[in-house]
Each structure stands twice: as structure tokens, then as C-alpha cells.
């Protein structure tokens, strides 16, 4: 690269950093004060971009249409954010944080389908900015004027935010509430309006970040997820709740991405290495490195020990004889099922069983393990690809491939888990997300080996398992054994120690439990089980694509576990059944299935903050006159 090319790439990076910073700063502010990880933040960005596109036309184009549209779009998104806070989030501030995450995720699904309904599936490219449509010559190259404007606006927003937070009473209250909102309340600070204000401000920033991209990128429906994952990375790299950190991280990541694009294909040691392909994953690599070196981000600080410790998790009691009987009855019903049903029902049941195992394996580390994984699909996918590649390219018999696939996943979990168990809370979740994204991009880009985006086709089970009935029994025995083994382990000394490590790492440490190694082992076990689910999935479908280990698949798992109730033994199974069935029915019957799914999730979250199994358990308790086991332990 020449010096002028380097300069231009540097400026490109600066221009991209601005919007990224605005989204991330909004996310960081909202998290800092409300402790809600707003999964719908990318949707707010997308909404800002779409709105500014429409407002441009509505306001008659020209400078008023553009600049007025950008500002109006940001304001509309801010009002929308405030409404969301008042109507939805206020009802769930006391719910477990993961349930709040689920609610904002559902909101994102609804926004996406509303955007699809209003603006259609086509990409919409906005107009150039009036007055800034030209280009200036920098170091002999043409550089868009609008990008220079973007470069300036990032630091301006940073400065304005800094003044707001340090020079106004409102900002002081926001900072106080970020540190200890309970104490701020005891001093007479009304948190309700503070929270609404912060949510509106965060939404405004996201909407503005999106609207300002109008001349640079087309409005697209996938933007919500891509922006939210970028924003998460920036916030975590910069340090949760640190606005300056978000700015620094946005610069760092935008610059690295920009230079990866600039470098293009480079020949290293005789092999062509594509840096531009690296852009899909480079931010996650940066995040993984930062989290390992500085677990709380560049400018973040170790979180204060929670003052009001959350609700104490009720212990898992042994299933009552009645419940065991019900379980046996259910198993018998499953065994007899192929005698009654055939064809599509069996296919759906196989899916449900596979996802039940996937969901229970995620529950295993999230509930009793206390490790919230946002990237569990990595192990599902590794199991699927491991088995598929062994069968297709290795010529291994299907039965052996099915056994070895999960081992691939366990090896992956062993390697990733070593890093993950060194962190906790949101940081651990983000690192698991990073690792799954890295695994995904390797699979996605390694065309020669994994088939790239096309995936692998022709992964069929052995002849004696080819019939639907036979495969049904294979899936039933594999998933049944997997689920039972995980449950059984929870009542072994290992399981007790795992829960002790979750509830009080320090005390567990003090009585001689090696918490980290234990969590590492738990993480690997869960990876093994998820890998088994993945391998069974690969042979049941005959083909797999990178989707098997993508972020949406991880989110599916989260939704199942959270729907069922995170501290309930049977909950993840119920969650998997309801979710898989809903997705199947709703997706087949309704065009806007995401919105319907989102609405159903929202209703469930609002109605049953303890998860489905928790609600069923309470119902059972009420029916049996209050003598049954506590709900959350069923």
C-alpha cells in the first residue's frame, strides 16, 4: 500500500467509526443505567435508516428533505424508544436479566417484520446529501465530502454526550444511577423518568447513527442483527457503560476493518491470504483478544459486587415420584408414537427431540452452571459439520461419524471454554458469541473444505436407519440418553459442586472446589451434548449450511431455555417443544411469522416472568393444594 492509500483507508475507517460509535454509545448508556442489554438496538438503527429514506421523499427532497429527514427520523426513533420503555420494559425491570434480553429480542423480531411490511424486501438506497454530494481531493485521491462530515460528527457527539453527562443535573443523576440505582432512589431520585429519558437518548443515538448512513449504505432488513453484533463488540471492547471506551473501540474496529478491506488479497509465504474476507470475523477476534487480556474492556472497570444480590436460586429438588411417572409415561408415548403417526409428524418430532437436547445442554451451563452462553450454536454446528465432513470427506461409516461428531464439538468446547470460564456475566456471554462467530466465519469462508455458504449436501444415514421410523428411534434414543445423562449429572457431586460454584464462587473455592476447572468441564460436557444434537440433525436433514452454527441458531437455543425457565429441569424441554412447534406452524402458515413469534414471546414474558415451567409448576402447586414441590424446581 502506498502512503496515500493508507491515508484514504484511515479516513474511511474514521467515517465508518462515527455511526458505529453512536449506536454503541446508546447501547452502553442504556445498559449502564437500566442494566438491560437491549437486543433491539440494531433494530432502532435500521428503523432510523428506513425512516430517513421515507422522510426524504415525504418532505419533498432537497436539503430540507435530507437534513430534516435525518433529524426527524432520529427523533421518531427516540419517541419510539421512550414508548417501548414505558409500555414494555417498565413491566419487566424486576424479571431476570436474561428474560429482559429475550423481550428486547422479541421486539426486534416485530420491528423487522413491520419494516418488511412497510418498506418491502428490496434494498433501498438513499439520495446523496445535498451540499455534500461531491468529493474532495486528498493526497491525489477523491474522497467523498459526506464522509468528511461523518468523521467530524463522531467526536462532536462524543463531546455533546460528555457535556450532558458531566455538566447537567440530569447527567449527574444518570451517572449516579449507573453506579448504584437503589441508593439514588433512596435519595429521592425518581428512576422511572430517568430510565425513560436514558432509553430515549440511547434510541435517539441509534436512530441518528442509522439515519446518517442514508447516502452510504442501502436500508436492508438484515441490518438489525449485523449492527447489534457490531455494537455489542464495540461496547464490550470499550468497556460496558464507558462512553469514551465505546468511542475508542469504534475507532479501533472500524480502522482494522477498513485496512482489511484495503489490503485485499495478500500473498504470504506463497499462499494467497484474503484480508477482505477477514472483515466478517476480525472484530470478534479483536474482542476475544481484548477480553482475554483486559476482561472488562479497554476503559471498563471490574463491575462492583452486586449490592442487592438477585433472587436466590431455589435448589433443584429431586423429581417427585409423580413427576418421574409422568416422565416414563411420556417416554412410552414417544416410543409408541410411530405406530400412530407417520410422515411429517415424525420429521417434526425428530426436530423437537434434537432441539430439546440442544436446549437442555444450554440449560446445563446457563442454569446450574451460571454461565450464560450466547454462542452455543457453535457446538451444535461443530457436531453437525464434524459428523458430516467425516462421513462425506473422510469416508467414515455413518454410525462412527455420528459418534465422532460430538467429540469434535467437545474439543471445540474444550478449547473455547478455557477462555470463557475466566470471565463471567455479560463478558462471558460476549466471548462465547465471539467464538461462535469465529467458528461460523471459518465454516462460511472455507469453500474448499466446508462448502462455504452452500454448506454440505448428501449427508445420509446408513441404510438401516434410512426410514423415518428408524431414524426417529435413533433420535429418540440419542436425545433421550443425552438429556437423561445431563439431568443425572446435575444430581451427582459434580452437579452439586457446579451449583455451589454458581451461587458463591468464593465459598466454593474456600471449601476446596476448583470452580474454574469444574466450569470448564461443565462447558465441555454441554458442548458434547450440543454436538450430539448437531450430528443427529445433520443426518436427519441430509444437508447442513453455516446456519447451523450462526448467531440466530444460538438465539433460538436461548429462547427455548428462557421460555421454559432457566432454573427448571424440564423447562428447556418444554421451551424446545413450544418454540420448535411454533416456528414450524407459524412459519408455514403466516408470512409475517417473525412478528407473530415476537408477539407470542412478549406475551409469554409478560405473563410468565418465571418461564413456562415455572408457571406450570405454580399451577400444579395450586391444583394440588400447595403440597407439591416449589414450582421452579419441577
Amino acid at each position: 500500500m502506498t502512503a496515500s492509500a493508507i491515508l484514504i483507508q484511515f479516513l474511511n475507517g474514521l467515517a465508518s467509526a462515527s455511526s458505529l460509535f453512536m449506536v454503541a454509545a446508546g447501547l452502553s448508556l442504556i445498559f449502564g443505567v437500566t442494566r438491560i442489554v437491549n437486543f433491539a438496538h440494531g433494530s432502532l438503527y435500521m428503523l432510523g435508516l428506513y425512516l430517513s429514506y421515507s422522510l426524504f421523499e415525504l418532505l419533498g427532497g432537497g436539503p430540507l428533505g435530507f437534513w430534516g429527514g435525518v433529524i426527524a427520523a432520529a427523533l421518531i426513533v427516540a419517541v419510539f424508544g421512550a414508548l417501548v420503555e414505558v409500555l414494555l420494559l417498565r413491566r419487566i425491570y424486576h424479571a431476570p436479566e436474561l428474560l429482559q434480553l429475550l423481550a428486547t429480542f422479541a421486539l426486534g423480531l416485530i420491528v423487522k417484520d413491520v419494516a418488511l411490511w412497510v418498506w418491502g424486501p428490496e434494498d433501498l438506497l438513499g439520495p446523496r446529501a445535498p451540499g455534500l454530494a461531491g468529493a474532495v481531493e486528498i493526497a491525489g485521491r477523491r474522497f467523498p465530502e459526506y464522509d468528511l462530515f461523518l468523521i467530524a460528527i463522531g467526536p462532536l457527539v462524543l463531546g455533546a454526550l460528555w457535556l450532558l453527562l458531566t455538566r447537567t443535573r440530569w447527567g449527574t443523576l444518570v451517572r449516579a444511577a449507573t453506579e448504584d440505582r437503589e441508593m439514588a432512589g433512596a435519595l429521592g431520585v425518581n428512576q422511572r423518568w430517568l430510565f425513560t429519558g436514558v432509553f430515549a437518548l440511547g434510541s435517539l443515538l441509534a436512530g441518528l447513527g442509522g439515519a446518517l448512513q442514508l447516502p452510504r449504505e442501502p436500508a436492508q432488513l438484515f441490518l438489525d442483527l449485523s449492527v447489534i453484533s457490531d455494537a455489542f463488540v464495540v461496547v464490550v471492547v470499550g468497556g460496558l457503560g464507558s462512553i469514551g471506551g465505546a468511542f475508542l473501540a469504534a475507532l479501533l474496529i472500524a480502522e482494522i476493518k477498513s485496512f482489511c478491506i484495503g489490503l485485499g488479497d495478500v500473498t504470504l509465504f506463497g499462499a494467497v491470504f484474503s484480508f477482505s474476507k477477514l472483515t466478517l470475523v476480525v472484530e470478534f477476534i479483536v474482542m476475544a483478544v481484548v477480553l482475554v487480556l483486559r476482561p472488562w474492556g479497554l476503559l471498563g472497570r471490574a463491575p462492583a459486587v452486586a449490592r442487592s444480590s438477585g433472587a436466590v436460586e431455589p435448589p433443584l429438588v429431586l423429581p417427585s415420584p409423580k413427576l418421574r411417572l409422568a416422565g416414563l409415561a411420556m417416554l412410552a408415548a414417544l416410543v409408541l408414537l410411530p405406530a400412530v403417526f407417520s410422515g411429517y409428524t415424525l420429521i417434526l418430532m425428530i426436530d423437537i427431540m434434537i432441539f430439546a437436547l440442544f436446549s437442555v445442554s444450554l440449560f446445563f451451563i446457563m442454569g446450574p452452571g451460571g454461565m450464560h452462553s450466547f454462542g452455543h450454536a457453535a457446538y451444535f454446528g461443530l457436531g453437525a459439520y464434524g459428523a458430516g465432513l467425516l462421513a462425506l470427506k473422510g469416508g467414515v461409516p455413518m454410525e462412527l461419524a455420528l459418534a465422532l461428531g460430538p467429540l469434535c464439538a467437545a474439543i471445540g468446547a474444550l478449547a473455547f471454554g478455557w477462555f470463557c470460564v475466566r470471565l463471567s456475566g455479560v463478558y462471558l456471554a460476549m466471548l462465547t458469541l465471539a467464538f461462535s462467530q469465529i467458528a461460523w466465519s471459518i465454516v462460511f469462508q472455507w469453500d474448499a473444505f466446508t462448502g462455504g455458504s452452500n454448506g454440505l449436501v448428501g449427508i445420509w444415514p446408513a441404510a438401516w436407519l434410512a426410514s423415518k421410523e428408524a431414524y426417529y428411534y435413533l433420535a429418540l434414543s440419542g436425545c433421550g440418553l443425552g438429556v437423561f445423562a445431563l439431568w443425572r449429572i446435575l444430581y451427582s457431586p459434580f452437579g452439586y459442586a457446579l451449583r455451589a460454584g454458581r451461587d458463591s464462587p468464593l465459598r466454593a473455592d474456600a471449601i476446596g472446589i476448583d470452580v474454574r476447572t469444574l466450569q470448564w468441564a461443565g462447558f465441555t460436557l454441554a458442548g458434547l451434548a450440543a454436538g450430539l444434537a448437531g450430528a443427529l440433525y445433520a443426518f436427519s436433514k441430509g444437508s447442513i449450511s453455516p446456519e447451523t452454527l450462526s448467531v440466530p441458531r444460538s438465539v433460538d437455543g436461548l429462547v427455548m431455555v428462557l421460555l421454559g425457565g432457566i432454573q427448571s429441569l424440564t423447562g428447556p424441554v418444554w421451551g424446545a417443544i413450544v418454540f420448535t412447534w411454533l416456528q414450524d406452524v407459524v412459519a408455514r402458515e403466516i408470512d409475517y411469522w417473525r412478528a407473530v413469534l415476537g408477539a407470542i414471546i412478549l406475551l409469554l414474558v409478560l405473563a410468565f416472568p418465571g418461564g413456562l415451567a415455572g408457571a406450570l409448576g405454580r399451577l400444579a402447586t395450586r391444583l394440588s393444594g400447595g403440597k407439591a414441590a416449589p414450582g421452579a424446581a419441577t
Partner: protein
Amino acid sequence: MLLGRNGAGKSTTMKSLIGLVRPLSGEIAFAGRRVERLQPYQIARLGLGYVPEERRIFTDLNVMENLEVGRQPPRENAPRWTPERLFELFPNLGRMRDRPGGRMSGGEQQMLTIARTLMGNPSAILLDEPSEGLAPVIVEQMARTILELKREGLCVLLSEQNLHFAQLVADRAYIVEKGQIRYSGSMAELAADDAVREQYLSV
């Protein structure tokens, strides 16, 4: 003055009064209103100040900003406070207005947490073990401050394990055990009653 051993229920009583802990049963009245269903911020705005045992200073905020968070409009029938008046009461704080709360000593933080609560111009104030973990010199200073606050006309409810400190500042004493009030009387009577002290307070 609330007295009692560790775990007797002193802090929980105070947290229920300000609304941080919801009482399972019973009524709490303050300033002529039932408050047990109100949010902490609503109770605080009725004129009840709360100084927690753990101090809970905003460590990111400096002294002036900590005071700003506590600021509420002045009310009738209660002493009015400004930062300048508070700095007369706590001269140390006046010399470190820009210092972040996280870089102050324990005694300074204890002064700041009281000053912060006073910025709400309360008519009554809950002090949860203000002498805990402080050097003897600072404890004496704290006692003088509390007497000064009483002279200002502020109603002070103090919880304490330190009987000596309690005798310096309190008029009436209530002894709590297992969440129940076991004894009430004037501080002087309690000081004279060895049997009661032996039964409820000695370790």
C-alpha cells in the same frame, strides 16, 4: 436509638422504613401518610433521609456531584441545607470538592454520605451504624455532628452496636432482637439497667 446485636434486625428495620425492603406485614406511617407501599424515592421526597451502613458513596462522582444527587427542594418544618452550610458542618469535605468519592478515606466517605442525605432537606434521618469501622477520633467527631443535627431540629433515628457511642448522642433507646422491640426506655434508664444490657446486648 435502635440497639441490638448483630443480625437483630436493625438494618432491616431501617431499610423497610425507606422502602428498600418490603415489609411482609404491618404498617409504616411517616409524615401522616402510610408509606409501606411507596417507592423509596417517594418516601425520601416526603422528607425521610437514609444513610446506609455501607455508605454507598457514588465513587465515580466527586463531592459536589454526590451532593447534587441528594438535592431536593427545601421543605417547611425542616432545616435547610446548602453545600456551603454542609461544609461548615464537615470542613474536611469543603477542602476536597472535586475529589471522586472513590478516592476518599472511610471517615470522609461517612461524612459525605450524611451530607448527601442532608441535601434532601429531610425532616427526619435514619443513620445506620455511622460509627462502624471508624477511628475513635472520627467517632467522637461523628457524635458531635449528630448532636449538632439534633440542635438543628432534625429527628434522628440511629442504629448502633456501640453502646458508648449511643450514650453520647441518644435520648431514647429501643432494643431489637429477632426483629422485635424487646425494650424501650430512656437512654439514661438503659445505662443504669445492667440486667437488660446483659440480656440483650452483651456478647
